[in-house]
């Protein structure tokens, strides 16, 4: 099977195809994680994107029944240097190629993924046609022109209707008895697990849910999830978040973090090529300590824009100084741009879920005092 990538600037990469025989148009991004391709492909935040992996050997441990971050693959295409047809891991149930085929997703391998990553680094994320159907350049070109990219997938990758997920029944969990409303823009299972694993009940609400609908279930806290697309397209989410600030303790991750910034009157902007990987250092300005984080975002919060809205910058990216976290100066609200749940990636910041639970408990008990780590 032939594989083809056609980029907006006219460059063409020919490799071999794997997975489904299909053609898609999406935004070409690169991810530098060395492990966790299954979690990456099933992360709803990748909806509409074609992922170029910089690590060249993909598929080594196959595909398992337990590593999905959602019901299936959201990415529009997958690009690797090499793939393994003979995966080896006790949990593997199929090869990466079989899985992509089953999910209808095209893959291209045997292309210079490092050159592609460098191109994206220099020129920014780029529109791309991926095909394993043997289409010609002309065909790719006309698709490029005719198929628009969407920036509002957060509107449809979350739950379609309210869904209740019970917290873990293990003894001694801190979040036992707490009810957390989750505004779902395409939440990862790892994040849900971060809440339910601490005993919280998570009530997932679809995009467009209003503040009143959320308050109607009398939640103890609100969680704003990750999700794909441009946060400024997340208008109803921003409106709901803004209405609930001051009414509920709020924690946001990734898109959720950006939504909080926008709700607080701030701005977001598109990064040249985003952050996607599992190795960025982030410093916590309140503690002075750093952590290695899992990242997946195209947009970032404008540092200057949020100050007026009562938000305080709490975390910065050690490489480029971009905003990685905020908290409200008084209200029980905080958020991070990165993924404390890892999945894939390091678990170093898992404690943020505990911080949220503690915050919710403190508010519930009327003991919330505000500040860095109340």
């Amino acid at each position: 099977m032939e594989g083809l990538l056609y980029l907006e600037d006219g460059s063409l990469y020919r490799g071999k195809g794997f997975g489904a025989s299909a053609t898609n148009v999406g935004e070409l991004v690169f991810n530098t994680s060395m492990t966790g391709y299954q979690g990456i492909l099933t992360d709803p935040s990748y909806k509409g994107q074609i992922i170029n992996m910089t690590y060249p050997l993909i598929g080594n441990y196959g595909v398992s029944e337990i590593d999905n971050q959602s019901e299936g693959i959201h990415a529009f295409g997958f690009v690797t240097r090499d793939i393994t047809y003979r995966p080896s891991n006790r949990c593997s149930v199929m090869s990466i190629s079989e899985w992509l085929r089953a999910q209808g997703v095209p893959g291209v391998y045997n292309v210079d993924t490092r050159a592609i990553a460098k191109k994206i680094r220099t020129e920014g994320t780029v529109k791309c046609v991926i095909s394993t159907e043997g289409i010609a350049r002309e065909g790719a070109q006309s698709l490029m022109e005719s198929v628009p990219l969407r920036a509002d997938y957060m509107k449809d990758v979350g739950v379609g209707e309210r869904r209740i997920l019970q917290g873990s029944a293990l003894d001694g969990l801190p979040g036992r008895g707490l009810k957390i409303a989750v505004l779902d823009f395409g939440i990862k299972r790892g994040i849900v697990g971060g809440l339910t694993g601490r005993g919280c009940q998570a009530v997932l609400f679809p995009y467009g849910t209003t503040a009143d609908e959320i308050l109607a279930i009398e939640p103890d806290g609100l969680f704003l999830s990750n999700g794909p697309g441009d946060p400024e397209e997340c208008g109803l989410g921003i409106r709901t978040a803004a209405a609930l600030m001051g009414k509920l303790p709020i924690f946001g991750i990734c898109m959720g973090h950006q939504v909080i910034a926008l709700a607080a009157g701030g701005r977001t902007y598109k990064l040249k090529f985003g952050h996607r990987g599992a190795n960025h250092g982030v410093i916590d300005l309140d503690t002075g300590k750093s952590a290695i984080t899992s990242q997946n975002h195209s947009f970032a919060v404008d540092a200057d824009s949020v100050r007026g809205g009562g938000m305080v910058l709490s975390h910065l990216n050690l490489n480029d100084g971009t905003v990685e976290g905020m908290r409200h100066e008084r209200l029980p609200i905080f958020s991070v741009q990165y993924h404390p749940e890892g999945s894939p990636g390091p678990n170093d910041s898992e404690g943020l879920f505990d911080r949220f639970v503690k915050m919710v408990l403190a508010v519930k008990a009327g003991e919330w005092k505000g500040g860095a780590d109340a």
Partner: protein, 1084 residues
């Protein structure tokens, strides 16, 4: 927090001589650390006894003490220097153990110095098995069922409940010395005994074996703020059971799902936090592939061989950052030195695959068991980088210089199936080649099965092979892909096309292998290659998968689309490195390469280096202007040349590895800087050398080059015994032997070498006498001889294994004058340019040339250091047209310094059981130390001290002398030992001889002697064997037994005589005085 206040001076403890398990990686780490300290304006005082290192050279530390690494020496130096801090984590186990002792004795406290980076508590918790296990349980980390034991009874009791197999690990040792896996009572007895004896504290860990699980390592760093990162995760091809130093190691981890990866990463961070380490640390895990359960195997609370590998594999300079952290910096305050912009507080991501392959000394040590286990046997390693695992593996095999182009090894391919299974089960150094052969047969079996859907079938189906080897099926699948390509190439019937060549190259096939398999002619391959532009491209190691722009010029080749190598407009010089460390070609050549690179830069050229040894300074990211991490095979070197178009290539510094490329490069019209190929060939070909020297009126030992047995015996008739026999083109005296009888000669010709027209054997008269060595620099007109060294041991002992002395301690002036004259005439006539090393023998009358090496030698770093003459720099300058007479060092013999330096070889005797330690023409030492002082006696004493051998003041001396040594000279030495209070013990013919000569001796047979050694009655062994290297002899066994218990074993009467000086010095009241190298040299 920026660097700690009040640090003005820091003492660095080096790792001492190179031994198996503690090698060049500590020169690399230590050099980085010294530089990191000085960058901060802190004075760095270094103590290291190893003269072959870069770290002990000018410009790395502020002060260098080339002194023994003993606690007495360190205490004296600390008292003298008064450092505020001591860095011990860069000197391997040696450094850590010394620091522990100094701390325990209160020395550090007394002088107000504190340990930086590690503390006694963390060292103890990491190294003491019991404390470590307690700590692991406290933090919820799983450890295998085990006991700490000091004797066999406890171990037997443990096994009664836990069952076999069990692993024995001695506490506080290097490279797993004395450990192993026991499958039954007999093995348990042996391993427990040797384990207890090898442990510095007589303690072993006996644990349930998890052999067969996956072995995974993480390199972790932590700072004082408790920030932690993992620099690199690595996976061993070989499952648990093979020492990681003897394992093929792959980076990054390949077969773990993210959850498994993060589970172990979390554990590694938890562990470094619990140990409170500020710096780097290595954590090893075993992971059960069937359940994902894991256990913690061990932790090294310091930089290590693995951290050197991880640094090179990931492009992250662990030692440098560990040093900065020890000075008080936190990771977030430090930058990524590779990108120059981003933060050091991140985790490198690789966009390539790295394979480390060990280099074993079994080609030298024919009697050594090649089975791999928990005791490390490799002397060095190579690393290779590529975009696929297959290619990285095949490149690594090429880099090993074992004359293999791929996975096909004829002797293995000839084995029957049963033999092959046994070979695989035995788990020796050739195991991967045996597995590949099994896969070949598995594919054939599947083919015969006719239409079967499996790729492999029968006995050697991949599933079965996994069952036998426990090697992960992912790795086996990769070998399968390589073997499939072999078959594809073989099926071409010589009709190659561009597509198949590209595909083969992409997974790492060498030209030779493609040609051999396909049967195509080289011209055809070359034509297709050129016409279709099938050449490798170079990609950068940048720590970040291309996410950020990087500055480091660190490249590897691969077959891919984009070439990233930026070729500057500067004029370039290419320097070919020395590859993996092996016996006979050690760290000294890396020293020369690094100095060579510096010299090239100083002289205004861009310095480009090719090398593949991850342990060394030469492959550090900021040593050269451009680093190519490649095999040193002609094809790979030519590809770099094609890319860089250097003005010339320097081959003199990489030992025999680089010199061997001279002919091929010359034939391709490449400009070899310095001595030309023609001259190299003249010097390397013994017959040509002899003729050429004869024309100059200089004697060589008379000899013949023979290609048949008949010719050999004709040579015997002409020369008479004893004779030195060897193959032509040798390195480190490989397969060289002194023979005394027809029987020995015949044995040699049939067993040791393969006689043929292409492989002549050289038979020379054995000249018994003094051996002297001259290193010179020549510019084509003049020469400079910085110094001459005289060997303590007579001819017949390999120069690398001899104790050697600067300046000559017995040779009279007329002899050294003649050496200077000869050296002058030889270098002129040979037209050498650059470095040359000539070895001479003086039989008391005549002077003979034994060997002319038109390259750097083992003694270059020593002579450079003790005379202050920058030999490599001068050599590079000479190659680039500068004249010696214009340099400040002048020409002729350089002034003799007012010091004596004694180089003492160090053997890794305890590691390779079943290798004879007796000195001979075959080199056996792995490293060396230097003792420097005012007199020969004092310097020799320091040399022996530094070598780590015990120096007894009396007690039993077990003496065995071969017949030719039963003479007045030997008697004199034995009597001198008696006068020092030793009680001579002997047996058999030697006993009779000694008694007859009135040197009273007690009697002990071999069994009694062993007991005497074990119980402490015998303190030293003087044994000059008639027939060394025969494991079946009882004298072999006694030498081994004594060596493994760290007793001095003297196998040459000259060594015994020199050792006596050390004994006397030790017994005298005089304490050694320790000075810096600059003070010694300055005094001259």
């Amino acid at each position: 927090m920026p660097k700690r206040e009040n640090l003005k001076k820091i003492l660095m403890i080096g790792s001492g001589p190179i031994i198996i398990g503690q090698a060049a990686e500590f020169d690399y780490a230590g050099t980085q650390a010294c530089k990191a300290i000085r960058e901060e304006g802190i004075e760095c005082v270094l103590v290291n006894s190893n003269p072959a290192t870069i770290m002990t050279d000018e410009g790395i530390a502020d002060k260098v003490y080339l002194e023994p690494l003993t606690k007495e020496a360190l205490e004296a130096i600390i008292e003298r220097e008064r450092p505020q801090g001591v860095l011990a984590g860069f000197g391997g186990q040696t450094g850590l153990n010394l620091a522990m002792e100094l701390d325990e004795k209160g020395v550090l406290k007394k002088y107000g110095a504190r340990l930086l980076g590690v503390n006694r508590d963390s060292i103890r918790k990491a190294e003491d098995r019991e404390e470590f296990r307690t700590l692991m349980r406290e933090i919820g980390q799983p450890v295998p069922g085990s006991i700490i034991a000091h004797g066999i009874e406890e171990c037997r009791a443990f096994v009664r409940t836990a069952g076999y197999p069990v692993i024995i690990r001695p506490a506080y040792t290097l490279g797993g010395t004395g450990g192993g896996i026991a499958n039954n009572d007999a093995e348990l007895d042996v391993l427990v005994t040797s384990g207890v004896e090898n442990s510095a504290i007589g303690q072993i860990l006996l644990e349930e074996s998890v052999a067969g699980w996956k072995e995974i390592e993480y390199e972790v760093m932590r700072d004082a703020k408790d920030n932690c990162i993992t620099v690199c995760g690595m996976e061993n091809f070989d499952p648990v059971g093979v020492h990681t130093g003897d394992s093929i190691v792959v980076a990054p981890i390949q077969t773990l799902r993210d959850r498994e990866y993060q589970m172990l990463r979390d554990a590694a961070l938890k562990i470094i936090r619990s140990l409170n380490i500020e710096g780097g640390c290595n954590v090893q895990f075993a992971l059960d592939p069937l359940t994902s359960k894991y256990i913690v195997i061990e932790v090294n609370p310091r930089v290590s061989r693995s951290s050197a590998l991880a640094s090179k594999a990931a492009g992250y300079p662990i030692a440098k950052l560990a040093a900065k952290i020890a000075l008080g910096y936190s990771l977030d305050e430090l930058k990524n030195y590779v990108t120059g912009e981003t933060s050091a507080c991140f985790e490198p991501t690789l966009d390539y695959c790295v394979v480390k392959f060990p280099k074993w000394p079994f080609d030298k040590f024919k009697t050594a068991s090649r089975r791999l286990g928990t005791q490390m046997k490799a002397t060095g390693e190579v690393m290779s980088i590529s975009r696929t695992f297959e290619s990285a593996l095949l490149k690594a095999i090429t880099s090993l210089e074992i004359k293999r182009d791929g996975l096909r090894v004829p002797y293995i391919m000839k084995m029957g199936d049963d033999e092959l299974v046994r070979k695989i089960e035995e788990r020796d150094d050739d195991r991967i080649f045996a597995i590949a052969e099994a896969i070949r047969r598995g594919i054939d079996a599947a083919g015969r099965g006719g239409g079967a859907h499996t790729d492999t079938a029968g006995l050697f189906a991949i599933d079965n092979l996994h069952g036998i080897t426990k090697v992960d099926k992912w790795f086996l699948g990769k070998l399968y892909r390589i073997v499939k390509m072999e078959k594809t190439l073989a099926g071409t019937g010589g009709k190659l096309d561009a597509a198949i060549i590209y595909e083969a190259e992409e997974i790492g096939f060498t030209d030779n292998e493609i040609l051999k398999l396909s049967g195509a002619r080289r011209e055809v391959l070359t034509d297709i290659r050129v016409y279709n532009d099938i050449f490798p491209v170079y990609k950068m190691v940048d720590t970040c998968g291309g996410e950020f722009e990087a500055r480091t010029p660190y490249y590897y080749s691969c077959f891919d689309a984009e070439d990233e190598s930026r070729i500057s407009d500067e004029e370039k010089i290419l320097l070919v490195g020395s590859g993996p460390i092996r016996i006979g070609q050690g760290i000294e050549f890396d020293y020369c390469c690094v100095r060579g690179v510096w010299a090239i830069k100083e002289l205004g050229y861009e310095a480009v280096i090719i090398n593949n040894n991850p342990e060394t300074v030469s492959t550090d990211f900021d040593t050269s202007d451009k680093l190519y991490f490649e095999a040193l095979h002609i094809d790979d070197v030519m590809n770099v040349i094609k890319n860089e178009r250097p003005r010339g290539v320097i081959l003199q510094f990489g030992g025999q590895t680089s010199l061997n490329l001279a002919e091929e490069l010359d034939r391709r019209g490449i400009n070899i800087l310095g001595t030309s190929f023609e001259s190299i060939d003249l010097a390397e070909d013994r017959q040509k050398t002899a003729d050429f020297l004869a024309a100059l009126g200089i004697k060589t030992p008379p000899g013949f080059s023979v290609t048949t047995k008949e010719a050999a015996f004709e040579a015997v008739a002409a020369l008479g015994y004893p004779l030195v026999v060897r193959p032509s083109y040798v390195i480190g005296g490989r397969a060289m032997q002194v023979v005394y009888t027809d029987r020995e000669l015949l044995e040699y010709l049939t067993e040791a070498v393969s006689l043929s027209d292409d492989h002549p054997v050289l038979i020379d008269k054995y000249i018994q006498g003094k051996e002297l060595e001259v290193d010179a620099i020549s510019d084509g007109e003049d020469i400079l001889i910085p110094g001459i060294m005289e060997h303590v041991e007579r001819t017949g002992v390999h120069s690398g294994d001899s104790i050697s002395v600067y300046p000559p301690h017995t040779a009279p002036k007329h002899v050294t004058d003649t050496l200077i004259d000869y050296t002058n005439r030889i270098t002129r006539a040979l037209k050498t340019c650059g470095l040359v090393n000539i070895q001479y023998a003086w039989d008391g009358d005549e002077i003979y040339v034994i060997e002319v090496n038109p390259r750097a030698s083992r003694t270059v770093p020593i002579i450079s250091k003790v005379t202050g003459v920058p030999m490599v720099r001068l050599a590079v300058a000479a190659m680039l047209g500068h004249k010696l007479r214009d340099s400040e060092y002048g020409t002729g013999l350089y002034k003799t310094m007012k010091l004596t330096a004694v180089k003492v070889p160090v053997f890794s005797g305890a590691k390779l059981t079943d290798v004879d330690i007796a000195l001979g023409p075959e080199m056996k030492s792995t490293g060396e130390v230097l003792g420097i002082d005012e007199t020969f006696e004092k310097a020799a004493y320091k040399g022996f001290l530094a070598s780590g051998v015990q120096i007894p003041g009396g007690g039993g001396l077990y003496v065995r002398l071969r017949d030719s040594e039963k003479n007045e000279n030997s008697l004199g030495v034995v009597r001198a030992y008696i006068n020092e209070g030793f009680e001579v013990i002997s047996y058999g013919g030697t006993l009779a001889y000694l008694r007859e000569q009135g040197a009273g001796a007690a009697e002990m047979d071999a069994a009694e002697a062993r007991r005497g050694i074990a119980e402490g009655a015998i303190k030293a062994v003087l044994d000059i064997p008639a027939a060394p290297n025969r494991p079946e002899t009882d004298s072999f066994e006694i030498r081994r037994y004594a060596t493994e218990r760290n007793l001095p074993v003297l196998t040459c009467i000259d060594t015994a005589e020199a050792f006596l000086l050390a004994v006397r010095m030790k017994k005298s009241d005089e304490q050694p005085v320790y000075r810096t190298l600059a003070e010694y040299v300055g005094a001259g």
